[in-house]
């Protein structure tokens, strides 16, 4: 049995990171993720770790780059505008094949946008976290507990792949308080042989670089492509009441939470509806969506807390016009609410295919 605590989502992320072995954090203040650096500023020194408040998001992610090169489990967090500034560093992490964890507690965008919660960074997270055409695994937990579970395993994936891992949440999930069960502190291994650490007894020259000669770079990119394909085995998804569903909501994070409520309400009214909730956004749960029984399913409903919907294209690629795809969302920091979601879904169902 783990230790139960009542925590904010952001604090739960921070504590889970420490228990997962994170020993270096660098970050820059930005709402709504501030509880993560604030918590780690006192918590990391308690376990022999290091917290640095960087002069910018750019410098913070490059501090993480340095720590990760030494084989230290390292993390940074931010929100939309700050993630854009980290894009360069995330690309360098991928190029130098360095494991690290980046958390985005997202808010309304584009630009400075708003400080209120939004899911406006799906495309950035899943398609282009930086220049150069690379991917990171993207996890999208929908509760403080699931965030703990994701963070606890995040470095295992990152080190397995020698690639950064990205966690996409939003200001709601970062700031709601929930009971979480915390796992025990992980025992840390020696720094890996590829790292620049000498604490593992390495006695040969070590070097890590984000630049390569052309044939080597081509080879590494091809290998990365194979790695992305292998992630199909790592897909995490929740299927809720899909067995007889005629309508399937696809939603992640906070939108999935609101959608689950809607499913329960509509089921009580006799509507055959379910929820397909990607927990990994990249890899996207393609087969779960592709292999639905489209002789039964009458419509797919994409619910996101952003406008226009960003996940829609990924959904449509799997639905392949076998039924209409509807979308509903709020944006700019305006939150999804139960009534609005219910009303929209009922509208889609009543409107039928004309509404597609």
């Amino acid at each position: 049995m783990g230790e139960k605590r009542f925590m904010k989502g952001n604090e739960a992320i921070a504590e889970a990171a420490v228990r997962a072995g994170c020993r270096f954090f660098a970050g820059y203040p930005i709402t709504p993720q501030n509880e993560i650096p604030e918590y780690l500023s006192w918590r990391l020194p308690e376990v022999g770790g290091v917290f640095v408040q960087g002069e910018s998001e750019i410098s913070s992610v490059n501090m993480v780059y340095g720590a990760a090169a030494m084989g230290t489990r390292a993390m940074t967090s931010s929100s939309g505008p700050g993630i854009s500034l980290k894009a360069e560093g995330i690309s360098y992490l991928a190029a130098a094949m360095l494991p690290a964890v980046i958390v985005n507690i997202s808010r309304g965008g584009p630009g400075l946008g708003s400080i209120q919660p939004a899911q406006s960074d799906y495309l950035q997270a899943t398609k282009a976290l930086g220049h150069g055409g690379f991917h990171a695994m993207v996890f999208a937990p929908y509760s403080a507990q699931e965030a703990v579970d994701v963070l606890y395993e995040a470095w295992d994936y990152a080190e397995r792949d020698r690639n950064p891992v990205f966690v996409l949440m939003d200001g709601c999930l970062g700031n709601i308080m929930e009971e979480v069960e915390l796992p025990p502190m992980k025992e840390l291994d020696e720094p890996p042989e590829w790292s620049l650490s000498r604490r593992n007894g390495r006695d040969w020259q070590g070097n890590i670089t984000p630049i390569y000669t052309e044939p080597i770079l081509e080879g590494l990119n091809a290998m990365a492509g194979e790695m992305y394909k292998s992630w199909e085995d790592d897909v995490k998804v929740e299927e809720y009441m899909l067995d007889d569903a005629e309508y399937v909501i696809v939603a992640y994070g906070i939108a999935a939470r609101v959608s689950k409520e809607a499913v329960d309400t509509l089921r009580a009214r006799g509507v055959k509806i379910g929820l397909l909730r990607p927990i990994t956004l990249f890899p996207f749960p393609k087969s779960n969506l592709r292999n639905l029984d489209y002789s039964r399913v009458k419509g797919i409903i994409d619910i996101e807390m952003t406008l226009p919907a960003q996940m829609r294209e990924d959904i449509e690629l799997q639905v392949m016009e076998r039924c209409p795809v509807y979308e509903y969302g709020r944006s700019g920091g305006v939150l999804l609410d139960d009534d609005g979601v219910l009303e929209a879904i009922e509208g889609f169902i009543e409107g039928g295919e004309n509404n597609g």
Partner: protein, 248 residues
Amino acid sequence: MAEYKRSNLIADAPSGYCPGCLHSLATRLVSDVICELGQEDNSINVISVGCSALNLLYWKGDFLGVAHGRAPASATGIKRTNPERLVFTYQGDGDLAAIGLAEIVSAANRGENFTVIFANNQTYGMTGGQLAPTTLIGQKTTTTVYGRDPAVAGYPMRMCELLNTLEAPQYIARFALNSPKGINQARAGIKKAFEYQLAGKGFTFIELLTNCPTNWKMSPLDTLEYMNENTIPYFKPGVYRDKEAEVK
């Protein structure tokens, strides 16, 4: 009778630098001092972008290639998690004084316990000789074809003087590599900076005035004279900060 043996921290092959480039001399000096201090296996060269990146193929000790201007940030991540290592960044003037200005000033201000080796050749060598923050007034570059005009491009930035306004740095010094005397002083300064770091004292900064025969469009020997007449009068060599000496 003097002796000299090339260090084994640089490749047993010609560097990637152009003939007469004092970048390669700077790299060699740093490698000599690290060997002299017996730190070959303990040092980490944080290699930035620009001609300094030629070190990626030349440096034989542990190194980390980093993003343009971000070496002081990445060095912070290295040194804070591995304080026993001898960590230094190797940066040019575009890297350090333009794109990386926030990183260098902030690392210096935090008093990070690593050493910055700053090679100032007053131009962007790798990209073909554009205006740098350190380009001298009137100096021609590919983006100031009539010479640097302060009315549109400002004045050359003096990094030692700028960093010397901060409290935390322990040692700040500038040396010119265009004479045997300057080279010997630089070698002593680099050694002092590394000794400060090994003693855990804090941030140390070594600016090395270098040249760029290719982009200045001069013979190597002419660049040395140009430095005497133009560079050194503006960027005055000297020890700007030596905390240990102040205490004494």
